[in-house]
Symmetry: C2
Subunit: 513 residues, 2 copies
């Protein structure tokens, strides 16, 4: 066993994962020297990439036992490609596949059956919820799932730790030569940013589309130069499923109070000024923060530089009102985001690496003034858990959580002090997803705790009259109301390895009972 920089005990070798590189600090591990060398491809004039159905794709490549198939998650809970591709694999009797899917949603429930039959025996993802997460927690796979961050997945692909044999890219629009975008077809999903590294580095790249346009398609998000095959199917997904999670501002008075306080923290930190940049999620409380920030920006008559991240209609409205000059979009969270990226030249589509990879010449999160994040649990060292629930079952994942936390100048976690009936502040989070050194402020309905690393910020918040408390005080308040949370009984088997964005291991997840 090793103890990493946030005090987690990690085996030196995890079976099915390999030797562990221990987390040493948010910016402590330097990259290796070279990227992965992707395959060279070649094509002659007259070659056709159009294939007749997924089975023909499987035969032409050919897809074999043990390969790694990758997918992006821009359709979120409306995705139709993963299930169709894996059903094809099952039909053809292929076994032992690794699925590298950037996020897993309830719609991907058929994966559980593929686990059981051995069609799929390994999973690599940045987030998972629903039946697949539940089954993984219960130990359905012999091999631990690798849980990455959005930036870490791009890094792993580019640097060769995640080698992809075949990337299947759900393409809302494609031309016969393999140019792809996410905006011009009837099932538009907006940005295709998470699929960019897959397209660039996979040995074989397949555009799976339900909308073929004449050559040359424009705009081009993923170019013909990396796409080997184009296959048209009936339907690649349901764009309505993109809108999973809340996209309306909360009406809950406690959450509104938290959001209002978070906005005041941003103001007290002096960030409501020209050039302000901002990221927030799609949860009700996060959106409420955006709502209050919007009012502050209007009142102060300032113009922000950019909004970043998964993009909602709320941020689109702020762009259209001139409150931000640009949106940098790696993923649309609703159909307003899709509409905007299709038509507004100030709404930019970027790759997962551009968004958040730690190992390139500079990613967008590094330019962020402020990010608003959630938490399932947070500990007195400010380490955050967004992977496991109070029962130890996986119900999420970092996604861009640790990326944005590491990059932003001010990282605020907003959370109710009690989640259900349990305190969210612990001595030690069950699963560490984001290291405490990258979290600056916790905002709850009972007060605001500032990371001791940010003494000057604490002074600013106090000067602004904000209810600053020690995180231990908040913990005590919660425990007074709800008691100390009981330890969660877990099995000893490791069902998931939580990789930090730089590829070191932050934590492991053990089997839920």
């Amino acid at each position: 066993m090793m103890i990493n920089a946030i005090g987690r005990e990690i085996p030196e070798v995890v079976e099915g994962y390999g030797p562990v590189k221990s987390f040493a600090g948010a910016f402590a591990t330097p990259p290796g020297m070279q990227r992965q060398a992707p395959a060279v491809k070649a094509a002659r004039p007259g070659d056709s990439k159009l294939l007749d159905g997924l089975e023909e794709v499987f035969r032409r490549i050919p897809v074999r036992d043990g390969m790694t198939l990758s997918f992006h998650h821009h359709f979120r809970n409306g995705d139709g490609v993963v299930n169709q591709v894996l059903a094809t694999a099952a039909r053809l009797g292929i076994k032992n596949l690794k699925v590298a899917l950037s996020s897993v949603f309830p719609v991907h429930a058929p994966l559980v059956e593929h686990f059981k039959t051995g069609v799929v025996t390994a999973l690599d993802t940045n987030y998972m919820s629903g039946p697949v997460a539940e089954a993984v927690s219960r130990g359905v796979l012999a091999q631990p799932v690798v849980l990455r961050t959005h930036g870490g997945r791009a890094r792993a692909i580019e640097c060769g730790q995640l080698k992809i044999d075949v990337a299947f890219i759900a393409a809302p629009a494609a031309d016969p030569c393999g140019n792809i975008n996410g905006v011009t077809g009837p099932t538009a999903c907006g940005s295709l940013g998470y699929a960019f590294p897959d397209a660039e580095y996979a040995d074989h790249v397949v555009a799976v589309t339900d909308h073929l346009e004449a050559y040359p398609l424009s705009p081009v998000s993923i170019p013909q130069t990396r796409v080997d095959y184009v296959v048209k199917i009936e339907r690649i997904g349901d764009p309505k499923g993109i809108v999973s999670g809340t996209t309306r501002i909360t009406k809950d008075p406690v959450q509104l109070k938290i959001a209002d306080t978070a906005a005041k923290v941003i103001e007290a930190a002096g960030l409501i000024r020209d050039g302000f940049s901002f990221q927030t999620g799609a949860g009700g409380a996060s959106l409420a923060v955006a709502h209050f920030v919007r009012q502050m920006m209007k009142k102060a008559r300032i113009t922000g530089s950019f909004a970043l991240g998964g993009i909602t209609g709320h941020l689109v409205e702020m762009l259209e009102e001139g409150l931000f000059k640009k949106i940098i979009d790696v993923q649309g969270f609703d159909l307003e985001a899709v509409r905007s990226i299709a038509s507004n030249p100030n709404h930019l589509e970027v790759s997962a690496g551009f968004y958040a990879s730690p190992f390139n010449a500079g990613c967008a999160v590094n330019q962020l003034d402020c990010v608003i994040l959630g938490a399932t649990e947070i500990d007195t060292d400010f380490n955050v858990n967004v992977v496991t629930g109070s029962d130890g079952v996986i119900m999420g994942g970092s996604g861009g959580h640790s990326d944005a936390a590491a990059g932003a100048g001010l990282t605020i976690v907003v959370a109710n002090l009690l989640r259900g009936r349990l305190p969210i502040i612990m001595d030690k989070v069950l699963t560490a997803t984001t290291p405490g050194e990258t979290i600056d402020v916790l905002v709850t309905e009972w007060g605001v705790a500032v990371n001791p690393r940010r003494a000057e910020l604490r002074e600013q918040l106090l000067a602004a009259g904000l209810p600053v408390k020690e995180i231990g005080e908040l913990k005590a308040i919660a425990e007074k109301m709800a008691g100390k949370p009981k330890e969660v009984p877990l099995g000893s088997r490791i069902v998931a390895v939580v990789e930090y964005r730089d590829g070191t291991v932050l934590d492991v997840v053990r089997q839920a009972k």
Copy 2:
């Protein structure tokens, strides 16, 4: 000595170049297995890329003796970056640099002095004219220049045959994080396509700009993820210099006749139909072909799919008239092209690899119905020379010539039968630039010759009443008028190696006397 597939005698090893891979046919040499693995980079929040002047760039990298510095040529004869960077190198006493500049123009004359003083001792380019070409021909460099094609340069960078230490990218607009475009600054040059591979693969990437915008710049042509430094200088170039070469339709009646015939060849081949795609150069005769094709397209009321290549105002007008749906642009040939790419979403910027590399999953030239090309000489096997003049001195280079010839369905060379007072048809061209197997038709004022490989095309042209002759007949006509051209006396030293787009050697250029 070896004899390659087009019958040229090539040494097995060229001193200063290395072992020669012999040209085996336009699509005969398969690629190697892997691309080059580019350097991994990393950046922390708060890191700044802005440096104060070129000398600081040199010190920070640091630039050392023997390194390869790369540049793109979108400013053509108005480029200001190459000379400033190399003057900096000279001032700092750096020696033995290799300059990888996609094309060399008369404005780059100071390079000759850097050759003489040993600051620069190697050159890698796709085209050169003016004093540098003259000096190279006379033997100023001990090491032969590598002459590539535009697609071949992308391939060489991506596949690791051309390793770049530092790419200096003339950036008409940049932001402090290194996002670059060619369209929003006062010295806009349009597409930056030739710089894309350099940005992707160079160990160090420097954006040299005279126009800094606030983060995030948009549109983004080259992303911050690969750019290490940003330096602001007084002036990166003079966009007026982009318009080098003719950009007006010829008034010469002989050239107009040739152009009219070439257009009729396209029509006879059945290509004036919906979906027609077309590339032509910026020479007076090429533009005249475009002029006649435009009239035909209007008359036939057809809509072409795309125009490709170096883009002129003439093609922009055809896009704006609806004669083409899209323009695919790797380089602007005039300021109308710059204006269009900045404002028209159907005018697409693409990389050199997308345009023409043979070793990716498919380049744009492969989709071309027809390309119009020039020639200094053509031989009875249809091999074309666009590298050396009748005195054996280098005055050009392939650029996209052999790429488009290989990709297009119909490749037409237009040329006056006499150039100056010399026949352009020879038994054997002095320097082979483009293999005859990729040339379909030669159009002269005395008749049209069809490559024997295209018997069906010959029938089509005859049926259309076009003046089809054997290429030998045309050669005889020319020689009757002007006599047989004398052999050019050359030295034995090899001053340049002509690489085909796949990296094999088509020919060598020997020292001019």
